[in-house]
């Protein structure tokens, strides 16, 4: 009979092997799924794991999708490491996009190229403000931040619908619920011609380095994590739990808001009801699969965006539904949670 036995020390090897095993399990279940759907499993896997990285253009698309995921996940990692459960990054992302739109719509032909900085800054401030509501309610009334942040996502969606259907509706837009296209000066600059990759990639890279330094080399980053690992020790040390709460929520809200701004003023170029693409929720998976570590999250963000692109390819080329993206994302998270058991336990074979 197979049994689980607690390890004396968490296994270092399995900390790294567990995400790989989880990926392996995801692939196996994927094969079974494609077979059950009557498709060639190899062709199916090719859509998800080969075509997205085959050549330059898909790599660009991969980065376009990975950038917002990574930026949001970097912020969430601060939250989760501080034991603050912000699962409303999607809402902060939407409000970030709305705030960025507010600035972008002020632009006209004569505006300066630097306006785009204000657009991005507005996104950060918008996301922070939205996360700040959660922090305030938690701080003042001890309201559960999981519920509050999640519910604020739906409020944000309503705010978005109101704006694109009312005050910000493009008068020349054939009555579609969307804003007018942003002026070129308000758009996020691209890195190369012919690719949709924007300077967001550079910001995300800077974020990775910045987060590593913050978490592992600054005392503030250290104190936030102590609050997450052992609240009583943080109190004993004199690290304020209120400051940790605010810092974690404002950082993650700001990051999600920035991602919203980069998206709405980048690939999309106008405010539409389709701005919320689920990045805020997918980033939770990115954060966990990446072990809340800056480098790990780079890899998991790329993996997750492969699933997005794979889903689209499976739709257009194999005639499968795009929901496969969600199925793969969910599979990966579930297998990871299961495989993580092996970090703290070992499997042993015992009679009886």
């Amino acid at each position: 009979m197979l049994k689980l036995e607690a390890r004396a020390e968490p296994s270092g090897a399995w900390t790294y092997a567990s995400p790989l095993l989880a990926l392996g399990l995801t692939v196996i279940v994927g094969v079974l799924m494609f077979t059950a759907l009557g498709k060639d499993p190899l062709r199916g896997l090719e859509m998800f794991f080969w075509l997205p990285i085959k050549s330059g253009y898909p790599w660009g698309e991969l980065l376009v999708k990975a950038t917002p995921l990574l930026i949001i996940a970097l912020g969430l990692a601060v939250c989760f490491r501080s034991n603050v459960w912000n699962i409303g990054a999607e809402g902060q992302y939407i409000i970030g996009a709305i705030a960025a739109t507010g600035v972008a719509l002020l632009a006209d032909g004569q505006s300066s190229r630097w306006l785009v900085l204000a657009v991005m800054l507005a996104g950060v401030v918008g996301g922070m403000a939205w996360a700040g509501i959660t922090a305030l309610l938690r701080d003042r009334f001890n309201a559960n931040e999981i519920l509050v942040s999640l519910m604020l996502v739906y409020v944000a969606v309503q705010v978005l619908s109101y704006l694109v259907g009312g005050p910000w509706k493009d008068p020349m837009g054939f009555n579609f619920p969307q804003s007018k296209n942003f002026e070129a000066v308000a758009r996020i600059p691209r890195l190369f011609d012919g690719s949709r990759v924007s300077i967001g990639v550079l910001l995300a890279t800077a974020g990775v380095v910045g987060l590593w330094v913050f978490l592992f080399r600054t005392r503030t980053g250290f104190s936030l994590q102590v609050g997450g690992l052992a609240p009583a020790a943080a109190r004993y040390a004199g690290f304020s739990s209120r400051r940790a709460l605010w810092a974690a929520l404002l950082i993650s809200g700001g990051a999600a808001g920035l991602a919203g701004a980069l998206e709405v003023a980048g690939p999309i170029g106008q405010l539409t009801p389709y701005v919320p693409a689920g990045y805020g929720f997918a980033a939770i998976i990115v954060a966990y699969v990446g072990r809340l570590h800056p480098i790990g999250m780079v890899l998991s963000a790329i993996l997750m965006s492969m699933f997005y692109i794979g889903g689209e390819m499976a739709q257009s080329r194999l005639g499968l539904t795009k929901s496969l993206t969600g199925v793969f994302q969910g599979l990966l998270l579930f297998s990871l949670l299961a495989c993580d058991t092996l970090v703290n336990y070992r499997l042993i074979w015992r009679k009886g």
Partner: protein, 527 residues
């Protein structure tokens, strides 16, 4: 001759990183009070769990009344006639004594039956308790009585007691011993787990000593001395401390009329606490745990800043409203009783755990709290590990990988290494082996001799008598006046611990608080 009540032979239990019991044999005769003596981590608890059926041995045989038994779980153990009173009570605070006892019994009995049988056992053994009282109103000693009655209701042939006196006042210990002696005289065998030598010598007529999971001696404790028992237990005699006379200097910590209502439902209100600690002296606070020590220490450390202004002063500075970090800058260093999770973060390295209270390795403090110089931090941790002889892999070892005693040495070392002006330590040597405990006490005395003001809060009277210059007692959130340790007796301190203040203390407290608590009057009537 009847067979032994319990006979263990060749018991071995391995855990992934440690062998808890190795080839342990033990024989308990009917009516015998058998001590199992050993330090923390010697394997006493594992052995008892094996007897009680909550752990299965890897090898070895258990004979009960001459019959080979395989006890699968505690229910089977109880059916055989084995009962156990654990060190940590399993009682629900919000329901009554009778309801608690009822929970563990067969459902065919009515609550009234249970109440009656509790009362009859209570009278039979002089375990005075009211079955209708909610558990949260009981003192720790009374809770233990409930646990003992619960064990006795199954009419056990073998009663196991795990460190039963660690929560009791000396007087309550005497009472407990009367009950145990009566039980033994009726033929019930008792397994008595402890590391307190004088108790074992007084109560038990057989003793098995464990060290590192092995039996290192079997003896009759009444014919042994503390020194010979201790030698079997730790392999050496504990070093003697020298406590040299010294005039205390200026006042360092002054607490004046500290009143603090409880923060949670089952906490204790602090009632007008006043005392002083001067440089170059060790002040001890004795008391049974749960009498306000936790609350007092949080108010002193700054983890609780609800105290009124002017009630807590360090030197001349009013620190009542200051957070722990600010108090630390004034020279207050504190070792809390919980090591893992409060004194140290279990999943962080020893080096990173320094950052909880030490800032020497922090540069550029202005930016995000400062830059952590990892090399310097690890060197600092290595220094503490060497100076305080902490057994650890190195500065990068995780805090939770250390044994309790070694982690305590590291935490005490971290705080002492900061050259405190005021050093506060709670439950100095809980779960710490004898050698490490002696070392820590030695460090405390060295700190005192160097002119530091030291406050020690502990349940262990022996320890307090050993290190303190003056003693206070805390009971129900009130603090007694201090007595010079040289003039104090265990009996007097023990009475104070149970809240039985004599008249001079009453007058002292009455004058402080302006009233005398009604509950105490009732206690006097009872006494």
């Amino acid at each position: 001759m009847s067979p032994p009540r319990l006979q263990l032979s060749g018991i071995t239990k391995r855990y992934p990183s440690v062998v808890a019991n190795s080839d342990v044999s033990l024989t308990v005769l009917p009516g015998e009070t058998h001590a199992v003596l050993g330090e923390n981590g010697a394997g006493k608890s594992t052995l008892m769990k094996i007897i009680y059926g909550s752990v299965k041995p890897d090898e070895g045989r258990v004979l009960f009344n001459g019959q080979l038994v395989h006890i699968k779980n505690p229910q089977e153990a109880r059916a055989l006639g084995i009962s156990m009173v654990f060190q940590h009570f399993s009682l629900f605070d919000t329901i009554t004594v009778a309801e608690n006892v009822w929970l563990g019994l067969s459902k065919t009995l009515s609550l009234l039956d249970v109440t009656r049988s509790i009362e009859s056992k209570a009278t039979e053994y002089g375990l005075d308790i009211d079955p209708q009282r909610p558990v949260h109103t009981l003192s720790v000693g009374e809770m233990q009585r409930v646990e003992i009655i619960r064990a006795l209701l199954t009419n056990p042939q073998l009663l196991i007691l795990d460190e039963p006196t660690s929560v009791l006042t000396p007087q309550a210990v005497e009472k407990l011993f009367v009950v145990l002696k009566k039980l033994a005289s009726e033929g019930c065998s008792i397994l008595y787990i402890s590391h307190k030598l004088h108790e074992i010598r007084e109560l038990c007529n057989a003793c098995t000593v464990l060290r590192g999971g092995r039996v290192t001696g079997v003896c009759n404790p009444s014919q042994e001395s503390n020194a010979s028992l201790s030698k079997m237990m730790i392999g050496a005699e504990p070093p003697q401390l020298t406590h040299r006379a010294q005039e205390p200097g200026a006042s360092v910590l002054r607490v004046a009329n500290l009143i603090l209502p409880r923060e949670d439902q089952f906490g204790v209100d602090l009632e007008a606490i006043s005392f002083e600690v001067r440089s170059g002296e060790v002040v001890g606070i004795a008391g049974v745990s749960g009498n306000g020590q936790k609350e007092l220490l949080c108010a002193l450390s700054g983890e609780d800043v609800r105290a009124a202004a002017g009630t807590v002063r360090i030197g001349r500075i009013d620190v009542s409203k200051l957070h722990p970090g600010r108090r630390r800058r004034l020279g207050l260093y504190f070792v809390p009783e919980e090591r893992l999770g409060r004194g140290a973060v279990p999943t962080l390295s020893l080096a990173h755990n320094l950052l909880l209270t030490r800032q020497e390795a922090i540069a550029y403090r202005g930016f995000l709290g400062g830059w952590i110089r990892v090399k310097q931090l690890e060197a600092q941790a290595a220094g503490i590990i060497a100076r305080f002889k902490v057994k650890a892999g190195g500065p990068r070892s995780l805090a939770r990988s250390l044994s309790g005693g070694n982690l305590q040495k590291f935490i005490v070392g971290r705080e002492i290494d900061a050259n405190p002006k005021l050093f506060i330590v709670s439950q100095t040597t809980w779960g710490v082996d004898v050698g490490a405990a002696a070392q820590i006490r030695g460090e405390i005395l060295a700190l005192r001799d160097a002119g530091c003001a030291v406050l020690v809060v502990s349940e262990e009277l022996d320890e307090l008598f050993e290190v303190s210059d003056r003693l206070h007692v805390i009971a129900r959130g009130q603090l007694s006046p201090s007595v010079a340790t040289a003039l104090a007796t265990v009996e007097q301190i023990g009475e104070w611990m149970s809240g039985l203040w004599d008249h001079s203390v009453q007058a002292h407290l009455g004058a402080k608080a302006g009233l005398v608590d009604g509950a105490q009057e009732a206690d006097h009537a009872q006494a």
